[in-house]
Symmetry: C2
């Protein structure tokens, strides 16, 4: 499941690529991009590979979502270990422009806004519903939004990403203070000009981001969990 933000009238909207199935079951239907796990690759690697095969891009954020394994979710027995990725809009645009210039735009891939999805193959609509729920939850307590932004961005751009994911407006003044207080933003000396008062550009502190994912992102020093006791 690959999310990006697509500019649209009245703010950006979340969009994701779908692929048209070329064989049964669900031939001709749209589905989430996916692929088979190779015997010689780990789950993360397989997800990265599938992402690259679909979009030609590398994700700025990639995380395991959930394993779906009901017996009746396909005509054969398939367990899907679903990952979700966030792509920076500028990279998606650049890739699309390159394809357009070369005239080799992928035939069976289409980007769809999440609020305007067709009926998909298998249980893929349900998977998207779950991913959206997780995304909207996570944007509240995590600094996930920068996965959709270029390296340098204004606070207004960051706020608009959050607004697009959450589906509601945020107070610019309060958002600014919370963002600055989070300790994850590094102000630069550069400004975005072009309209009205120039806005300062920020970048993310990547060191902070790693600590949020728990023990999986950075393997613990010891094989043993940290002992913990109640102090009397």
């Amino acid at each position: 499941m690959i999310f990006t933000l697509r500019p649209s009238a009245g703010g950006a909207v979340l969009a994701l690529p779908l692929v048209r199935r070329t064989r049964d079951p669900f031939q001709g239907h749209w589905a989430l991009p996916g692929g088979w796990l190779d015997a010689a690759e780990g789950l993360d690697a397989a997800a990265s590979r599938t992402l690259a095969e679909t979009t030609g891009l590398t994700a700025s954020y990639l995380e395991q979502l959930y394993a779906f394994g009901d017996v009746d979710r396909s005509t054969t027995r398939v367990v899907s270990i679903v990952y979700w990725a966030l792509l920076r809009q500028d990279e998606v645009d650049a890739q699309r422009a390159a394809h357009d210039a070369a005239g080799d735009a992928p035939e069976n891939v289409a980007w769809s806004a999440v609020e305007d999805l067709p009926a998909l193959a298998f249980d893929h609509n349900q998977i998207i519903t779950y991913a959206l729920w997780r995304l909207r939850n996570k944007v509240g307590y995590s600094r996930i939004a920068h996965g959709l932004l270029p390296d340098e961005f204004t606070l207004a751009e960051l706020r608009e990403v959050n607004e697009s994911i959450l589906g509601r407006r945020l107070d610019p003044a309060n958002f600014r203070r919370q963002a600055e207080a989070s300790g994850t933003l590094i102000p630069t000396d550069r400004f975005r000009t072009g309209s009205h008062r120039p806005a300062r550009l920020y970048r993310y502190d990547v060191a902070v981001e790693l600590a949020e994912r728990g023990p999986l992102s950075a393997p613990p020093e010891s094989d043993h969990p940290v002992p913990h006791r109640i102090e009397e």
Copy 2:
């Protein structure tokens, strides 16, 4: 991964069952209980079955944790879709008593406190570390603690469960107010006597619990995600 609370000097401690491996790789080592996915059962069903085979019990809480699939995590290629379960202490005790009476205590199962784990087979120590991290996170924003308690419990017992998971003392007065304000507790007319002033017994409102798990616990009415737009 099966958690329960074991009474101990100075408060309860988290404990989980380990099984001794009877074949290579890691023969003789302790490992997390597990089993193979049957072609005719879903992931949740397989987790329930494995739990029952290990403990003879049904979980009061069962949730998918994570899928582990690095190529080098076993000598053969194995993808483990790990679930975690919470067991009520009274049921574990009853089951153990039944086994002791019948003289058929399971030979290769041992309960170990999480703060005193041996070196386990495969990447199982890492898996436990991750599960503990998730458990401690989740106890903060979810009412997960009641999975470790009998149907009726005092607020002090509920607080002690939270203290055991978090590894620190909580203020009884503040904990009481937060628990009562959560809207998930139903006071009963019964009291726990035996020492000092009797404490009122509470039970959980099960209806509330279901809403916390997101779209997976209760499938959405429609196959399509709820559209959302920013109001201008």
